[in-house]
């Protein structure tokens, strides 16, 4: 009997469960193993190879790509890559914060509507993401162009010189970024706001907590899982994004995404591109792992009974 166990009321054994579970996951994992994990492993190997004289790959093991990523290039040490990295993280962080600042009220706003209206509004938030990103960013360029009302307004207010467009500017980049990422912030936030237990919020209010404390303990604590999901879904894609910064920021500054793309494109240095990509993947995974630990600590426990 001891080797048997009961799962969902069915007497079974561990090997049998593993057999069934294995069968279920085999398809996906075989598929992903063949087309993703194995080639990604190969790519990780590529990160330690070298670029040939005319592009291509020379399979000689070297740490050079790693030291290069850290900043040692042909001119000695430079802050180039670290600056790029820092700028990418900063852009993604500010974008995430802006999205949360807008997305949280929007989540509440939707959740406060009549139940029949909510899915409609939610869909309304999601619709823009079915238009190609390049098109939307191009549309921002058009909207911010020198002949458009927004620019006229800014020109007449003396914010920008006569005849100037509103891009490339930092503001334009953030507008584009927020416009692109906001749906992915609102969606997870809404799912947790919708399930909010308002009695806890009222309890906090009854205890004469200030607005901030009510929000922090009554609302924020409950929305933690959604908040984390929103942060992940916003921050990680924002970290790799570069089209928006190129199109609305005048391509003046490189981001990690550019750096990687360039190596596989104009620079034709695949090993270095693989190294930079590997770094981004690992950094994202570490961030994800950290957030998961935080969420496990913060989230209310739905422990099993017994």
């Amino acid at each position: 009997m001891a080797s048997h166990l009961v799962v969902d009321g069915y007497l079974t054994t561990r090997p049998r469960l593993y057999g069934r579970g294995g069968l279920l996951i085999a398809g996906a994992f075989l598929w992903m193993g063949l087309f993703l994990f194995a080639p990604l492993g190969g790519l990780a190997g590529l990160a330690f190879a070298q670029r040939g004289e005319y592009g291509g790959v020379e399979w000689i093991f070297s740490w050079a790509n790693l030291t290069r990523l850290a900043g040692w290039d042909e001119f000695g040490f430079s802050w180039s890559h670290l600056t790029i990295l820092w700028r990418s993280v900063w852009l993604a962080t500010v974008t995430t914060l802006l999205c949360l600042l807008l997305g949280f009220p929007m989540a509440f706003w939707i959740a406060a509507k009549r139940p029949a209206q909510r899915p409609l509004l939610l869909a309304l938030v999601m619709v823009p993401s079915c238009v190609n990103l390049v098109i939307r960013t191009y549309a921002w360029q058009q909207f911010l162009g020198s002949q458009m009302p927004a620019a006229w307004l800014a020109q007449s207010l003396g914010l920008v010189p006569e005849g100037a467009a509103l891009y490339p500017t930092v503001t334009a980049v953030y507008l584009g970024m927020v416009s692109c990422m906001l749906p992915f912030t609102v969606l997870p936030l809404y799912t947790s706001v919708e399930r909010l237990d308002w009695s806890l919020v009222e309890a906090a209010r009854d205890l004469h907590a200030g607005r901030w404390r009510t929000f922090r303990h009554g609302i924020l604590a409950q929305c933690m899982p959604g908040l984390l999901a929103a942060t992940i879904l916003t921050f990680i894609p924002a970290l790799g994004m570069f089209v928006i910064s190129d199109m609305l920021g005048g391509a003046k500054f490189l981001l990690v995404g550019n750096l990687i793309q360039q190596q596989f494109g104009s620079m034709n240095d695949w090993p270095f591109g693989a190294m930079a990509g590997l770094f981004l993947v690992l950094a994202s995974l570490v961030a994800l792992w950290g957030l998961r630990i935080v969420s496990e600590r913060e989230a209310p426990h739905h422990g099993a009974r017994r």
Binding site: P128, L182, V201
Partner: protein
């Protein structure tokens, strides 16, 4: 819901505005007679007519749809099974952690890296199997590869909301394993599966980088076409196309909402 602070509503409208300004700009430009630039050159529907007769656009739209549907079907089946296999099996902790990581990998990997990895895999496989020459097949396989993760993530989160007591109750009520699947788990999982499939489909429709690398000469998708037109200066036909996509999606959503409302209004007396 309780009385919200008064600033919530205006802030939300600002958020919606930021989302919709570009769409509005595209919509207006699609009726602008000027070919390049933003000057208003008069109202025209010529771009829509041109789009409708542009074979390249129609072929790309067809390819996008084909790739989107095929890859979504594959990814939804595999991803759902994966979510179920992970959730309903007492895997050891290390395996659980590992799978978690594996599923999140495509989500955090930059597109370009995914693309290069896939292209490498196809190049090797092509040595044995000619099916993997750049084209629709590679596009479908590539899209399915990263879609699986998204489907699994969505279905898993739905699965987590279905308590173990549901299965136990069904079992207690004499349901065998097959009945539990068909009568309890799948119906409750369906919204999650549909959401996952929709997400996967959207991602497929919008994917550019991976598609670019794995597609062949005969398999241009809409994003590839759009990207190319943007590179050479957008033609207003692309505006018309985008406007139609937005309008179509909106109509579909409104139709679904309307049907939902009708269905909800009827039964409960």
């Amino acid at each position: 819901m309780r009385n919200l602070p008064r600033w919530i509503s205006p802030v939300s409208w600002i958020g919606l505005a930021i989302l919709y300004i570009p769409l509005l700009a595209v919509g207006i430009l699609s009726f602008n007679a000027t070919r390049y630039g933003q000057q208003w050159g008069g109202f025209t529907t010529a771009w829509y007519a041109m789009m409708a007769t542009n074979d390249a656009i129609l072929a790309a739209a067809w390819n996008s749809l084909l790739v989107g549907v095929a890859s979504t079907v594959i990814a939804t089946v595999l991803g759902t099974l994966l979510a179920l296999g992970l959730h309903r099996t007492p895997w050891p902790r290390w395996f659980r952690r590992g799978s978690d990581l594996a599923i999140n990998l495509p989500v955090v990997t930059p597109d370009i890296i995914l693309a290069i990895a896939l292209v490498g895999a196809f190049a090797v496989l092509r040595e044995w199997w000619a099916v993997f020459k750049p084209g629709l097949v590679t596009l479908i396989v590539a899209h399915a590869t990263f879609q699986i993760s998204f489907v699994t993530l969505v279905v898993s989160s739905r699965l987590a909301t279905i308590g173990r007591d549901q299965v136990e109750a069904a079992r207690d009520l004499y349901a065998n394993t097959g009945q539990i699947w068909l009568r309890v788990l799948l119906p409750q999982l369906m919204p999650g599966i549909i959401a996952g499939a929709l997400l996967a489909f959207t991602i497929s429709l919008d994917d550019f980088v991976v598609s670019f690398f794995v597609s062949g000469p005969d398999a241009t998708t809409l994003p590839l076409l759009i990207y190319a037109s943007v590179r050479r200066g957008v033609t207003p036909e692309i505006h018309a196309l985008s406007t139609i996509i937005v309008a179509g999606t909106m109509l579909a959503i409104i139709a679904v909402a309307w049907m939902q409302a009708r269905r909800d209004a009827k039964p409960t007396e």
